[in-house]
């Protein structure tokens, strides 16, 4: 159901005066709860009321494009259960947009060491597939999905293999313990929503704010102060200072959230 005009006006006026419906500040995230499942590589993240589940699995495949590297693939499931917007025809576009953002954030920035996933060059490599299920879409599922994805990848354990000539033996858990993936750095996506031309900016928009926002900027960063990806397309136009301002805010936010994820992983 689309937002009523009075609702849009209310949200926009509130943002103009720096207030949000859930009494957050403009630059605050909603509370983040992270829970790991029984199986290695299962992580569920609650960002306020948004819920995303990430499950990492692996299998041995024949490499297609790069013979000496493993492959990391993100698969996002947007079911109508999560949001009534997922009934429409453009759910495919939104799904592809989410998958591409996650690919840009994790795969293209070399967050996972793919070369260590090579078993026999050109023949067998590990194919790591992260399935992201959006359970409840109450806004900003990209950030939620990126937290779930990195937690899931860090939590995941893969079997060890021994190669004798052409034979590959995958050892089960009793013979040899499963080992974690080689993670170079942990990036996270931070989403900024713009309202009123480029007059107002808020972090972590809820679904209602997403319905009235004019544009969004996604920045992915890690704890080494490196920007892994920036994605901003139209809606409003930004000046260089605003992009730099977003970068500074994103740096602090990413740091906090990654610290939280690492603390949960250690437990």
């Amino acid at each position: 159901t689309p937002l009523a005009t009075s609702q849009r006006q209310f949200i926009l006026n509130a943002i103009k005066s720096g207030q949000r419906l859930d009494s957050r500040n403009l630059y605050d995230y909603r509370p983040i709860k992270l829970q790991f499942g029984v199986e290695y590589g299962t992580a569920e993240v609650k960002l306020g009321a948004s819920r995303v589940l990430a499950v990492t699995t692996c299998e041995l495949i024949r490499p297609i494009t790069r013979p000496e590297e493993g492959r990391l693939l993100f698969n996002v499931e947007l079911s109508p259960m999560a949001s009534p917007l997922n009934h429409s025809n453009d759910v495919i576009d939104r799904r592809i947009a989410l998958e591409r953002r996650l690919e840009q954030c994790f795969v293209e920035s070399a967050a996972i060491d793919l070369e260590s996933l090579c078993v026999i060059a050109g023949e067998k490599v590990w194919f790591i597939r992260v399935a992201i299920h959006v359970l409840d879409d109450v806004g900003n599922i990209l950030d939620c999905a990126s937290i779930a994805a990195i937690a899931s990848l860090a939590h995941f354990r893969r079997p060890q293999v021994t190669v004798v000539g052409e034979d590959v033996t995958i050892h089960n858990r009793n013979e040899k313990d499963y080992i974690p993936l080689n993670i170079h750095h942990m990036p996270l996506c931070i989403t900024f929503a713009f309202f009123h031309g480029n007059g107002c900016m808020a972090i972590d928009p809820t679904d209602q704010e997403e319905a009235v926002m004019e544009s969004k900027l996604v920045m992915a960063l890690n704890r080494h102060r490196e920007i892994c990806t920036i994605q901003f397309t139209g809606g409003v136009t930004l000046k260089v200072d605003q992009v730099l301002h977003c970068c500074n805010i994103a740096l602090t936010k990413a740091n906090e959230i990654i610290k939280l994820v690492q603390r949960m992983l250690n437990d």
């Binding site: 495919i92 592809i96 947009a97 920035s109 544009s215 080494h224 920007i227 397309t233 260089v240 730099l244």
Partner: protein, 243 residues
């Protein structure tokens, strides 16, 4: 192999702050409402505009704005190895979506309610900066079609190599190292950013330098595009006055 040699030259002999040779022509296709052909170095793009016309898909009609259809495709012969899927793969769909959003905010969409504009860009030869060439070609084609826009949209790529920024990155520079690649599109008069996409890792301290370099590259491209559009209009006006 170094991207910038000790003398300060890049692989193709350019200086770090030089853009590639830029050639463009408007009105190259006779059946399209607007078209443009553009070459940025060895990257060649062809854009065609159909519209504004009556919206075909009833589901997409917007009562107060024009609906923009954008299709980005790379010809099968555009890259070193034959591309099996010119369009319809994930990246093309994603890029088409992004381009649609950019042009939706730059075109004065309120002027054509319940209508549709189809923009089709094909990359004939991909030598780096494909998305930039796509945006520039589409802008020129829209100018040729006479679609009112807020301003030109000029796009350029920039990268950072050994703490030095380079502009208008070609394919061998893109692929060779895992250096950050920034694709930037601006509205040149106000220097405001309408597209900012960055790949690979960049340290936050260098963000300002790479953005400023990108904006300068976009403005250099704007000079050439603007000149070409004025020439095209003068020629068209001369023909009209003669008849």
């Amino acid at each position: 192999m170094e991207i910038i040699s000790p003398e300060g030259l890049r692989i193709d002999g350019r200086r770090p702050e030089e853009i590639r040779r830029f050639n463009c022509r408007l009105g190259v296709l006779s059946r399209a409402d607007g078209s443009a052909y553009l070459e940025q170095g060895n990257t060649k793009a062809l854009a065609s505009i159909n519209g504004p016309h009556q919206a075909g898909d009833k589901a997409k009609i917007k009562h107060d704005r024009v609906h923009i259809n954008f299709q980005y495709s790379m010809a099968t012969f555009s890259t070193n190895e034959r591309r099996n899927r010119p369009k319809g793969d994930k990246r093309s769909i994603d890029i088409s979506q992004l381009m649609r959003e950019i042009f939706q905010s730059a075109i004065l969409t309120d002027l054509y309610p319940k209508s549709q504009i189809d923009i089709h860009v094909q990359i004939l030869q991909a030598d780096g900066g494909n998305y930039s060439a796509c945006i520039n070609a589409a802008t020129l084609a829209l100018m040729d079609a006479g679609v009112p826009m807020k301003d030109f949209i000029c796009s350029c790529t920039a990268s950072l190599v050994d703490s030095k920024t380079i502009i208008d990155v070609n394919n061998s520079e893109e692929l060779h190292f895992s250096n950050p690649l920034l694709t930037l599109a601006i509205l040149p008069t106000s220097e405001e950013i309408i597209l900012c996409q960055m790949k690979s890792r960049l340290h936050a301290d260098h963000l300002e330098d790479i953005l400023k370099a990108g904006i300068k590259g976009c403005k250099d491209i704007y000079e050439i595009m603007h000149r070409e559009v004025l020439n095209h209009v003068r020629e068209a006006a001369a023909v009209m006055n003669a008849t």
